[in-house]
């Protein structure tokens, strides 16, 4: 009798718990029905010695399904599920889920984040790179550093301008027992101020910092986490870069990348060290200034400074946000997204007119498929018959054929929807 009561009590508890799922208005009657069935099923007159405690417990668990039926407004769950599966919303949901799984499973999560999420700095639409258009070889997209001085002297369209080395390089970083090869780029100490980025750790470098700390470096959050185990006291610590002592000035926030997602170390450089060099430029446009007007204004400044006639702008002001999200450039990170890399050819831009203008000049061109690019990157020396100079342009259909997400996810590894034009 004791055992039976115990099972009965357990079942009562289960039914009571399930009853909370049932809407209040029908809860009392629902519970009464179940309890009456339970009482009756254990009543000696009903049993005939056949009932099993385990069977009754299982039966009581079914009360939850019954209660759920009530909760779902007495709708047919299966029918509702079937109906939902035929709606466009379900298709969208499944596609989004598949996309998320694909991204999470691939190594492109960081790139996707950079493409889809807001950059970690103020007014990203006002941050732009300045380069020269209509270039033939990779050496020509960069800007003479002397032009930076002109613009810094009082260009009304710009709030700030900073230079960075057009070529990033691999450096060996040694910190304690850890040794890693990381891509590094030399930047003016005002670059982070132009971006308006607040460092995670340390103070945002200001103009003049490179003079007081000539060997200071800023680390990406990925490098800080991976090689420094998220050390919260990393600022002012010493490390060695290519055998030279360096001091960590700070750590950048997650998702900041410039000029390439593979760069993990930014070396602060004194502006004077860029003299006579061709550099990449990043600028903060004044509020309300359009890229187009800035292009003309900047070119006019240069014409005035050099005494040349002003025929129009050969400059391109391209918002960094757009450039980061520009799919092919972001895909080929490390191959010079906003810069150049002679080992893998130069990705000068996805400019529709570029191949045509090159063709007009009678330069030999070689067309490579994207799949070819992945298996064997464009090599001017090989593809251009030993000529050691070259540039790459994407034909305009690339962007439309594959789409931003497809490219970012690396679909080119399997599909081959585009062509790359190499100019030798």
């Amino acid at each position: 009798v004791k055992a039976r009561l115990s099972i009965l009590d357990q079942c009562r508890l289960l039914v009571r718990a399930a009853s909370w799922i049932v809407p209040r208005r029908s809860r009392a009657e629902w519970r009464r029905e179940w309890e009456a069935e339970l009482e009756s099923s254990w009543h000696p007159a009903q049993q005939g010695g056949k009932r099993e405690p385990e069977g009754l417990r299982r039966r009581c668990c079914g009360a939850f399904l019954d209660a759920a039926w009530h909760r779902c407004n007495q709708g047919d769950l299966r029918r509702a599920g079937r109906h939902w599966s035929q709606t466009p919303a379900s298709l969208l949901f499944l596609l989004s889920l598949a996309l998320l799984l694909l991204v999470a499973a691939s190594d492109d999560l960081r790139r996707m984040q950079a493409i889809l999420l807001k950059p970690p700095y103020n007014d990203p639409e006002r941050i732009a790179t300045i380069s020269r258009t209509g270039v033939i070889s990779s050496a020509e997209w960069v800007i003479p550093y002397s032009w930076v001085r002109v613009w810094r002297g009082g260009e009304p369209g710009l709030e700030g301008v900073a230079a960075y080395s057009s070529k990033s390089r691999q450096v060996v970083v040694v910190a304690g027992r850890h040794r890693a090869t990381i891509r590094s780029v030399r930047v003016e100490d005002s670059l982070f101020q132009v971006f308006g980025v607040r460092l995670w750790l340390g103070r945002t470098p200001q103009p003049g910092d490179a003079q007081t700390c000539p060997n200071c470096v800023v680390l990406s959050s990925a490098v800080w986490r991976r090689y420094f185990r998220s050390d919260p006291s990393i600022v002012r610590k010493k490390l060695t870069i290519d055998g030279q002592e360096a001091i960590v000035a700070g750590v950048l926030p997650e998702r900041f990348w410039f000029p390439s997602s593979s760069v993990g170390v930014w070396s602060l450089a004194d502006p004077a060290s860029f003299s006579g060099e061709g550099v990449g430029i990043v600028a903060r446009l004044r509020a309300g200034a359009s890229g187009r007007s800035a292009e003309w204004s900047l070119q006019r400044d240069i014409a005035n400074a050099t005494g040349e006639a002003f025929w129009g702008s050969m400059l391109e002001v391209w918002p960094v946000e757009e450039r980061i999200r520009q799919p092919l450039n972001s895909y080929f990170d490390g191959a010079g997204d906003l810069g150049a890399d002679h080992e893998h050819g130069d990705l000068v831009g996805a400019n529709e007119s570029a191949p045509a203008s090159c063709g007009r000049r009678g330069l030999p061109m070689v067309e490579l498929s994207c799949r070819q690019m992945f298996s064997a990157p464009f090599d001017p020396a090989r593809h251009c018959g030993g000529v050691d100079a070259g540039a790459l342009y994407f034909s305009s259909r690339n962007e439309h054929a594959a789409g931003r997400v497809g490219i970012a996810l690396g679909f080119f590894r399997w599909f081959d929807p585009c062509a790359v034009v190499g100019v030798c």
């Binding site: 009456a36 009482e39 009543h43 007159a45 039966r59 009581c60 009530h70």
Partner: protein
């Protein structure tokens, strides 16, 4: 053209079982072998569709057990069941024998 509603095999079996005189939820489980998580939602659905009606026993029987809720097939339910028997020829073989009166 609206004919009698079509019901699933399980619903038809439950309807048939009730028409044979097994009127309580747990009794239906006993004779059909279906789990409670299937029988009760099916009973609710059949009642919602007007194929069954439920009532509480007027007073507690003499055995000392509490009053139970019982189910009865409606006229529409009988029509639907007749249609279901044609659709599912094995239904009558699966359904239990009619319960003796007074049981």
């Amino acid at each position: 053209m609206d004919g009698p509603a079509k019901i699933s095999h399980t619903s038809a079996l439950i309807l048939e079982t009730i028409s044979q005189g097994y009127r309580y939820g747990f009794d239906i489980m006993d004779v059909t072998g279906l789990p409670s998580g299937t029988v009760y939602p099916a009973l609710r659905r059949l009642e919602r569709d007007g194929l069954l009606e439920s009532k509480w026993e007027a007073e507690a029987p003499a055995q000392g057990r509490p009053a139970r809720k019982y189910y009865r097939v409606t006229r529409l339910g009988n029509e639907v069941l007749a249609n279901a028997v044609k659709r599912y020829p094995l239904l009558e073989r699966l359904a239990p024998e009619a319960k003796a009166k007074g049981q």
